[in-house]
Assembly symmetry: C2
């Protein structure tokens, strides 16, 4: 009824003010964005699938194009600028990554994950240790007139692993049932727990930098953080083991259209929220929820609907927003500063090589350590959280911060093609 | 990472300000609402399904309970108060009703709709004429010291038909393939076009009331509005007839996970947006999109995925928000005013009886006119738009406005059980 209301607006503002107060649709503003983003993401993904690349790469690149349309066209096409700060689109995209990891959890067997648990643990530890040490050393070597706090920050930024990209690539390539995939998923969860501890340390450093005093990092507080995170994961999986069949039973008893979907989503969202409250990322809880429901399904509980099948349309709708938005947040203007690009390239090289080394943590035979290492490369939003704390406290200067952003970006974009290449290589070498 | 950020907040506000600026998740605020609303709606629906009532009634009533928790508990439990104005939840709920009508369109054959088109037309016309005339007369009889503009407004408010509730009840009862259902759906679309014209007239009246002058309603402008609305519907269906197979073909060619879902949703959202821009309700375009894709599917185009099946999980997720929110907007406090309740009951009686009479517009045999009439009863948000324009311009006093809100509410709540009863009655009487 927009036309009518426009007329009303001309007639009298109070008239319009009331009518629009509670009744004009918030959707009128959002729908054009939703339509365009959805179609662009999906078409971009389809084009990349056509040239035998993971669809997610197409979504990321389309995101970069949309997000930089204003910059590239000299502010001529600025239609998509508001999207980046649109709370609705951001919320949809966050729900996307939660649903993705829930779905990935549903496709992953807990027992198979535990079987490669030792490998995951070593990969995670090496994948934190090497990036931190070499990040620190390289940063000291580059120098840029900074003190050791800065170098510790750089090191911390390089430790993070963002599993969203890798999980999606493995899903695109239908490789989630490989041991390599399970090792990476497990390592990413462990990395998030370690990341929590690092965040605590780094925050203490940042605050001491702000106050100009000494950094106080109590061993006890680190212990509490660790205990909370590990406690959540263990108790979620143990409680879930007993609770999940009960939930599934209830949804079976309350036979109404879509009940099982809503119960499963409610479960996933709840664990995601709890894990966020504890300090872990949303997606750790969502992944755990998927594992638990897969197991409940697996241990002989005959479920009247195939959860994976009914969750797929939701992930088809929600997930593209997440990857498109990652792309849109990339600012191409950063690349015009040579100093930024130089630091970024050095950091990226360190980021890639040290995480590749993490693949060496794998124990056992017949596992492609290179693929595992590549799966650990993307830094994603976790690295950005460290970096922005650094920027906010003044520890990091604007150019170093921009370089970190570029590094996060590069590690995100190289992973899909590299992973596709390394996994197909493994296939070829198979007997 | 909320705990960590809380610590940071204590340490230093600037630190926190930066970290939360672009990085703390908007989802943290929304997720508890999403989880609770989703589970409450679905459990409420399931309970009502258990006692053999349409699930939607359970969703509505749970909505009323949630929305009035603060009022009923003396502001003790005010957790759900912010939800009513939460833009994210409102947008999700609007998407819900779009997806619902798209889905209903997918389950409806255009040819079968056209077969009962004459019945739909008569039902729509009678369903506007009677409510308007009797609404005007009853309002004049009640008087409440008002002039004829008020009475015309009351009459106009009673003409609207909101098809969301009826469509959902028919879906819950799996009765969408009855001729009665097609007649109601067709009549509701025609009603929306007539409603547009009435809105134009009523707006002109309201503005003349504001300016104290004469009402100017040009015959030409009414003609333009009608032509636009009818033109949109006809051209959407004709163009869609040729465009839809092409869209489906493209999505078939671009074989990537979920492509058909995204193309179909993109099509539905686009038509919904255009119809909104023309002045019709979103759901008219969404319903047309469903009809078109159903037809494209029907005319021998073999589609690689069953659209209805893949749209169901999305509707299971989105739709409950819409009906829950309708319930939440009901304010029980209105019922404490005797004068409001009296006017409301009289208006509701007129609203129900005159729309029942619309069922007499059905031509042909073996069609249950009572069920058609009942299907036309709910007024929904269209009636509220008229009423709020009346309130905003001062045409309607607060008590009359509240009475209209109660009337809209009652017509919405009586429809699910009445429709279930009348349709089961028809079944019994069948040979």
């Amino acid at each position: 009824m927009k036309n009518i209301f426009s007329i009303l607006f001309l007639i009298g503002a109070p008239l319009f003010a009331c009518a629009s107060g509670g009744l004009i649709d918030p959707l009128e503003h959002q729908l054009p964005f939703i339509i365009t983003l959805l179609l662009v993401a999906k078409l971009g993904g389809a084009l990349f699938a056509k040239i035998h690349q993971p669809a997610v790469l197409g979504e990321l690149i389309c995101g970069v194009l949309l997000g930089n349309l204003a910059y590239l066209s000299g502010d001529f096409i600025s239609f998509f600028e508001p999207v980046k700060d649109e709370e609705f689109i951001r919320t949809i995209s966050e729900m996307g990554v939660i649903i993705l990891l829930f779905q990935v959890g549903l496709e992953t067997k807990l027992s198979s994950m535990l079987k490669v648990g030792l490998s995951s643990f070593f990969v995670a530890c090496i994948g934190v240790f090497f990036p931190f040490v070499f990040g620190y050393l390289i940063s000291s070597w580059l120098g840029y007139g900074a003190n050791s706090t800065v170098h510790i920050f750089i090191g911390a930024t390089l430790t993070a692993t963002s599993v969203g990209i890798t999980a999606r690539v493995l899903q695109d390539l239908k490789k989630l049932d490989l041991d390599e995939s399970r090792i990476v998923l497990g390592a990413a969860v462990i990395d998030d727990v370690i990341g929590l501890i690092i965040l605590a340390v780094v925050s203490a450093l940042a605050s001491s930098f702000l106050n100009g005093g000494e950094a106080h990092i109590s061993f006890f507080s680190v212990l509490v953080i660790t205990a909370k995170a590990v406690g959540f994961l263990v108790s979620a999986i143990f409680l879930g083991h007993y609770l999940a069949p009960w939930i599934l039973n209830l949804s079976k008893y309350l036979r109404v259209e879509g009940m099982s979907l809503v119960m499963a989503l409610g479960f996933a969202f709840t664990l995601a929220y709890i894990s966020h409250m504890i300090g872990l990322h949303f997606i750790v809880g969502a992944f755990a929820a998927g594992l638990i429901l897969e197991e409940a399904h697996f241990v002989g509980f005959h479920y009247h609907e195939n959860l994976e099948r009914i969750i797929t349309p939701l992930s088809d709708f929600f997930v593209p927003f997440f990857f498109l938005l990652i792309g849109m947040k990339v600012s191409l203007s950063v690349f015009t500063h040579l100093s930024v690009v130089t630091i970024a390239l050095v950091l990226s090289a360190v980021a890639v090589v040290t995480k590749l080394a993490a693949g060496l943590g794998v124990v056992g035979k017949n596992i492609d350590r290179l693929s595992v290492g590549i799966g650990m490369i993307p830094r994603g939003e976790v690295g950005l959280i460290f970096a922005s704390i650094g920027l906010g406290t003044g520890v990091l200067k604007q150019d170093v911060y921009s370089a970190i952003v570029v590094m996060v970006m590069l590690t995100t974009f190289v992973t899909p093609p590299l992973l596709k290449w390394s996994l197909s290589r493994k296939e070829v070498s198979k007997p």
